[in-house]
Amino acid sequence: MTPMWYIVLATVLFSIGAVGVLIRRNAIVLFMCIELMLNAANLALVTFSRINGTLDGQIMAFFAMVVAAAEVVIGLAIIMLIFRTRRSASVDDANLLKY
């Protein structure tokens, strides 16, 4: 099986995440979609690592995972902060800032 299929899968996952961010309304779900995009990038990195025959891609996936974890913590902290005041995590309710 050619590794190119993994790239296709990564692209599909990335697209699902990217579209999900645009159409979903719950901040947590949005955030999960972003995580999906990051993981799709990890999959692509690891696959290219295999195709290229170098280990760099796998190391990069490590870094991406750590960065993603840091992002999760900060993101959930901000979402929690908003949720505790508004009792809602919908991004449509966050509408004080406009025009």
């Binding site: 790239i7 990564a10 990335f14 995440g17 990217a18 961010v21 901040a27 949005l30 955030f31 972003i34 995009m37 990051l38 799709a40 990038a41 990890n42 692509a44 990195l45 696959t47 290219f48 690592s49 195709i51 290229n52 170098t54 760099d56 891609g57 990069m60 870094f63 991406a64 960065v67 840091a70 992002e71 900060i74 993101g75 902290a77 901000i78 979402i79 902060l81 908003i82 505790r84 005041t85 991004v91 966050a94 004080l96 800032l97 406009k98 025009y99």
Partner: protein, 513 residues
């Protein structure tokens, strides 16, 4: 036992970054161990000292850069003249905006909330209203600034991605820390975070595509792969587009600008000043390096697209600035338009384009920090009065501050004898030399449009009678006065005597590949 080849690390060259990160770690420890009453003073002194020390080492490094000693940590960081200039510029702008963080006389306890985790409107929230503000902002700002230094000197896309996150994550948090209008502040943090994380996911996927194309992510490998590309450039183009989206988001170029007005308005004003000056400079530094060092072989592919983005950015920024009623939002859209002008210089594609972009970044940084410092002065019982109508008649109330603000707005508009004129002149000239005249035409047209909202504020301040609701201008403390003074004098000096900085930028406008 096999030995790995260890990377050589030039600690002297990395010292500015190490100092900032080290001081940030010490700052975190101070948060844990130093009593609350003296924390603000200790943190402020520590972070200022760290920035000054880092700046000293940047200056000492100047002139010692050679093609051999520029790359370090196995080529992950490239401290060439360009990188060194950006480091110095970021440190100076960061230093000036950090003074705003320390201001405590305008509001009891400063501009930041004591405990951000306390629910808005709760009993404890009312209790903490007079408490001393959170001092975590200082380590956060240091981490962020250190990340920016790493961002502009990163020599491969992975380092750039990590640096992007290191400077963005603290910014997301700092946005949520405003003392007044906490809901707005939290909302701006949420929006900034979600969109920022979205953009960085694009960036990372782009990195993966580039890795697939070039079999490596350092700029030299990418450059060689682009040059000697026999394979189809599909991966290259997808990767470059995705990486560019990540970077264009940070410089607030349309159509990736939608976060800018909300975040600029909702964030605490000192943080807004920091973002407007430093984030923009850092993102442009990185974008220049990516395009000029890594992908200059693909110039024919990206120049038309980025040209269209630049035109759109200038148009969106200028036209929407006209419709704004909030001063911070107005400045945000002006910052979007300025990103467009900077891109014009960048797309000039020549040495002049580089040096004029560098000059523009510094000149704009000083002006915008001073402008936000002034915004933080005009207050009423609810905190800052940023609605435009509240500024009517301010010229009669306090002619000095209205005069300074008028001068800064004229600098934004690019009136001669201000730094704004020299900066715009530089980027437009470089773009004409680089055969991008169509960008310059749009640039001049949008500048005219953009002058309108600035002049409207000026007219309102001077020609209206102050009403009952016109807020008073607070007497600034030492720190804000210093920021105002530095920003205004720099705006004037760079307009009258731009020579030294132009020369410096000219010397800095070369990359080492």
């Amino acid at each position: 036992m096999p030995e790995l080849k260890l990377p050589d690390i030039d600690y002297a060259a990395l010292l500015p970054m190490l100092i900032l990160f080290g001081a940030a770690c010490v700052g975190v420890l101070i948060e844990g161990f130093v009593p609350r009453s003296v924390r603000n003073m200790v943190q402020l002194v520590l972070s200022l000292a760290a920035m000054v020390a880092a700046l000293v080492f940047v200056i000492r490094r100047a002139g010692e850069v050679t093609a051999e000693n520029a790359a370090t940590i196995g080529g992950a960081i490239m401290i060439d003249n360009m990188g060194l200039f950006m480091e110095g510029a970021l440190l100076v702008l960061g230093l000036v905006s950090l003074l705003l963080f320390g201001e405590r006389t305008l509001e009891r306890g400063g501009a930041f909330v004591p405990h951000a985790a306390v629910t808005v409107g709760s009993e404890r929230d009312r209790e903490q209203a007079v408490d001393s503000g959170a001092t975590e902002v200082y380590p956060l700002a240091l981490f962020s600034l250190g990340g920016m230094l790493m961002f502009v000197t990163a020599n491969d896309l992975l380092t750039m991605f990590v640096a992007l996150e290191v400077f963005s994550l603290p910014l997301y948090l700092m946005c949520a820390l405003a003392r007044r209008k906490r809901l707005l502040s939290q909302e701006s943090a949420l929006k900034y975070f979600l969109l920022g994380a979205y953009a960085s996911a694009f960036f990372l996927f782009g990195v993966a595509m580039i890795y697939g194309f070039a079999k490596g992510v350092d700029f030299r490998a990418i450059h060689e792969a682009v040059r000697g590309s026999e394979t189809s450039p599909t991966l290259l183009l997808i990767g470059l587009a995705l990486v560019a989206i990540g970077l264009l988001f940070k410089i607030a170029a349309a159509p990736f600008h939608v976060w800018t007005p909300d975040v600029y308005q909702g964030a605490p004003t000192p943080v807004t000043a920091f973002m407007a000056a430093c984030t923009k400079a850092a993102a442009f530094g990185a974008l220049l390096r990516v395009l000029y060092v890594g992908f200059d072989g693909a110039k024919w592919h990206f120049t038309p697209v980025l040209g269209a983005v630049a035109v759109l950015t200038m148009l969106v920024g200028a036209v929407l600035a006209v419709t704004q009623t909030d001063l911070k939002r107005l400045l945000a859209y002006s910052s979007v338009a300025n990103a467009g002008y900077l891109m014009v210089g960048l797309l000039g594609g020549n040495k002049d384009g580089l040096s004029s972009t560098l000059f523009y970044l510094v000149a704009y940084g000083f002006t915008v920090i001073a402008a936000f410092a002034l915004v933080s002065l005009v207050r009423d019982a609810d905190g800052e009065a940023t609605h435009l109508s509240r500024w009517a008649g301010l010229g009669r109330r306090s002619p000095l501050f209205a005069g300074i603000f008028t001068f800064l707005l004229l600098a934004f508009a690019g009136i001669p004898l201000t730094s704004g004129f020299m900066a715009k002149f530089g980027v437009f000239g470089a773009a004409i030399a680089g055969d991008q005249t169509w960008l310059v035409i749009f640039g001049v047209l949008t500048s005219i449009v953009l002058a309108f909202p600035y002049l409207r504020v000026v007219v309102m301040m001077w020609l209206s009678e102050p009403g009952e609701t016109t807020p008073s201008v607070s007497i600034p403390g030492v720190l804000t006065s210093a920021v105002l003074g530095i920003g205004t004098v720099a705006t004037l000096l760079l307009g009258v005597l731009p020579g030294p900085l132009l020369e410096l930028a000219d010397q800095a406008s070369s990359f080492i590949r």
